[in-house]
Symmetry: C2
Subunit: 300 residues, 2 copies
């Protein structure tokens, strides 16, 4: 057992460990096809908060899971997240030139290579979940693959994106907006937390899985409401991506549906619900609580 | 044991079984998000020869594998193949409006939905490989996931696409062309054959895996050489896709590198090698041999 450290130090250490893991495990930039591998690394290693991976690691630490499988699961999630950002930024989607303050992948490498880099990152995420599987641990690895596949697919993240596209042609109710976000952002955040329960040999009690799932669902919603608020209250330099684009794209958001003040009230309410849900989870949930508060108070 | 049937009848039965399996297992068209699910079904159910799936089923039958896992593995391969065709046809790649004689997915559903449909089909392929896993069979399912992930990724199919893109800017040697095709087309054809060895509880002897791998490698190359020849000798109506586009795109192909006559000689030579490799595999390889000859003699 390492002694507990402050949230800031913990986050810094995890981000460093993740950065090292990703840099070592991604195909080397000199390996053929070089353009493709460089694009995959560019999109994955270019910083970012690594929120999803941090949630996996915090959950795994709470449940005393071993380190290497936890890092591997967290890294796979980051690959899925990175692929989704590449494809979201493409001209046929959000057509965005800026991500984390840098040119987006297709601006840097061209559209075709960016498309393929996203595709190959998705494959690699599933490959990683099959790596380093000790004999007898196959069921756990297979459960990770299943969790991530469902969270990424048409009834998860990609489905949420499709609902988002469809929403430009119609007006959403608040319930429909929440349903969309539960898929678009929520599915991967839920998978992040639940992957943390699948990183060791311990079977986690169904009641804990249930409470963590409820926590993760509220957290995903919280993340998205804050995202919607930041899109109108922040600027591109702070966000590291284009601000104000929801309004420009005529998107349904919590702000366009509720107005800014009510969206802020909603965020505060969902933060409360998230923390109440977390309080039901036994053990030292300090880092998960801290990450929740950071998500709520973030500026980018 | 069902009595052996002619190749034609066997192919027809398998295509029918695959069509039924895919139609039942894909998300229903009325299920939300409807556009996305309709696009996924459109791209997957719109016919095609189902060559990769047939290879899996023929290999599984040769090795006496049970039927349901064989169909499931074959179906997963078809999802990966369908996703790759959607993304290949996009404007930033081949920009093709015609596939199997029908409008391509992005022409029918728009670019953004087509992009997401490809993404979600990839996720679904991995999800399917985790479905219906009986206790104790997890290692086999995990091996399937690993095989398909590696075959699809940056050192397989997506990598081959990237090498193809890069080849427009430079001239390839024959060895480089073969290396590109071993990834671009070969990786999934190899995976198709090898998935057939992973559909039951039987452990297949390493020597058989080795011989099947060698067979599959030559078969993938054969497929591509014939594809290159058909691009110049056939017309769009027969191909069901745009003919002559390799030349229009200034692509390196066996025909542009060798000339049509020598490309035909090369195809005959690789057909011989493929059949010699298959002859080393024990058991009744009749359907695999028949499929090989069909690939060699196909007109589309």
């Amino acid at each position: 057992m390492t002694p507990p450290v402050t949230l800031d130090l913990w986050i810094e250490r995890q981000q460093q460990a993740l950065g090292t893991f990703l840099a070592q495990q991604l195909p080397a930039p000199a390996q053929s096809p070089q353009d493709l591998h460089q694009a995959m690394r560019y999109a994955t290693l270019g910083g970012g908060k690594r929120l999803r991976a941090l949630l996996t690691l915090a959950c795994a630490e709470l449940l005393d899971m071993p380190r290497e499988p936890s890092l591997r699961a967290a890294g796979s999630l980051e690959l899925i997240h990175a692929y989704s950002l590449i494809h979201d930024d493409l001209p046929c989607m959000d057509n965005d030139a800026l991500r984390r303050g840098q040119p987006t992948c297709h601006i840097r490498f061209g559209e075709a290579t960016a498309l393929l880099a996203g595709d190959a990152l998705q494959s690699l995420a599933f490959q990683w979940l099959t790596d380093s599987c000790a004999p007898g641990h196959e069921a756990r690895h297979l459960a990770q693959v299943r969790l991530l596949a469902i969270a990424s697919g048409s009834r998860g993240m990609a489905g949420g994106q499709a609902l988002d596209l469809a929403s430009h042609r119609t007006s959403l109710s608040l319930d429909e907006l929440e349903a969309m976000h539960l898929k678009k952002t929520g599915a991967l955040i839920r998978a992040a937390v639940l992957l943390g329960t699948l990183c060791g040999t311990t079977d986690i009690a169904p009641s804990i899985i249930h409470d963590l799932t409820h926590f993760a669902n509220r957290l995903g919603l919280l993340y998205q409401i804050v995202d919607d608020i930041l899109d109108v209250t922040s600027d591109s330099a702070t966000l590291g991506k284009t601000a104000g684009k929801d309004d420009a794209h005529n998107k349904a958001t919590y702000v366009t549906l509720l107005g800014l003040g009510a969206a802020r009230d909603k965020a505060a309410e969902v933060l409360d619900e998230t923390l109440v849900a977390l309080a039901r989870v036994p053990g030292n949930t300090e880092y998960l609580r801290g990450l929740t508060q950071r998500i709520s108070a973030r500026h980018h």
